[in-house]
């Protein structure tokens, strides 16, 4: 029995960006590393390349800042870090998420 694929797509759409924000919260990370990390998490992304449009949007929204840094090997890398606006959004999500998760768990019967 397989779940309809749209379900996981819709769920991902809602939370993926906050996972990205949380991953760069502590230290700036370059795109390739960030994308590889997320790619190894289960059920989070379909493929690494699909994350770049999301990163572009987060840049445009001003939730992440990016800077180019030289690398000892290969081309310069774009490092992503959390902007003050991104931090505020992430804090807000964390509060909302706890309530949201509790409500869904209670209604769906997955509360442990």
């Amino acid at each position: 029995m397989e779940a309809p694929p749209e379900l996981s797509t819709a769920m991902r759409r809602g939370v993926l960006e906050f996972c990205v924000l949380a991953l760069i919260e502590r230290e700036a990370t370059y795109g390739t590393e960030l994308v590889r990390h997320l790619g190894t998490e289960q059920n989070l992304v379909t493929s690494e390349g699909t994350l770049y449009p999301l990163l572009s949007r987060l840049r445009r929204a001003g939730w992440v800042s990016s800077t180019w840094q030289e690398s000892p090997a290969g081309p310069a890398r774009r490092y992503y870090s959390l902007s003050p606006a991104g931090r505020s959004v992430l804090d807000h999500f964390r509060r909302e998420w706890i309530d949201f998760r509790d409500t869904v768990d209670r209604l769906v019967g997955t509360k442990t």
Binding site: R13, E17, Y30, G31, T32, V35, R36, G39, T46, S47, E48, G49, T50, L51, Y52, P53, L54, L55, S56, R57, L58, A61, G62, W63, S71, A73, G74, P75, R77, R78, S83, P84, A85, S88, V89, D91, H92
Partner: protein, 145 residues
């Protein structure tokens, strides 16, 4: 030995993404292609001795060109970030998400206001009219039993 012999794999891949990105605005298309190109270059740079299968594996992990392009389209469609919450303290110096009224937005709002006013006037006019006439529709006399 030089990786450049596998460049054509990369170029073919990027060309396929570009093709699939046709419906996406040019500025976003260029941005995504630049990001993908950089990703591939960074991944290739750490390979000691690059083999064809390693390059293919980098491209496979990036994903099918159609799937990557679909993600870009998806961002176009659903990707307007939710309104950022107001900063918790007064020192939200970094907030850049202030909303600005575009001229088009203003025009549309004005139009909506005018339309609503017209509808409201029409509605009340009708209400008065029907008040002046019979207050209730006469019960139909066709009912049996």
């Amino acid at each position: 030995m030089s990786g450049s012999q596998h460049d054509h794999l990369v170029e073919n891949y990027l060309a396929a993404v570009q093709q699939a990105l046709h419906p996406v605005p040019a500025i976003h298309r260029t941005e995504l292609l630049t990001d993908l190109r950089e990703h591939i270059a960074v991944e290739r740079a750490v390979l000691v001795e690059e083999s064809e299968s390693q390059v293919r594996s980098i491209l496979d992990r990036l994903g099918d060109p159609d799937v990557v392009a679909a993600a870009a389209l998806d961002e176009q469609r659903y990707g307007t970030p939710a309104a950022a919450p107001a900063p918790d303290n007064g020192a939200g110096a970094g907030q850049r998400n202030r909303r600005r009224w575009s001229p088009l937005g203003l025009a549309l709002t004005a139009l909506a206001v005018v339309l609503t006013a017209c509808l409201a006037i029409g509605f009340f006019a009708r209400l008065y009219e029907s008040d002046a006439g019979s207050p209730q529709p006469a019960p139909s006399s066709s009912g049996q039993r």
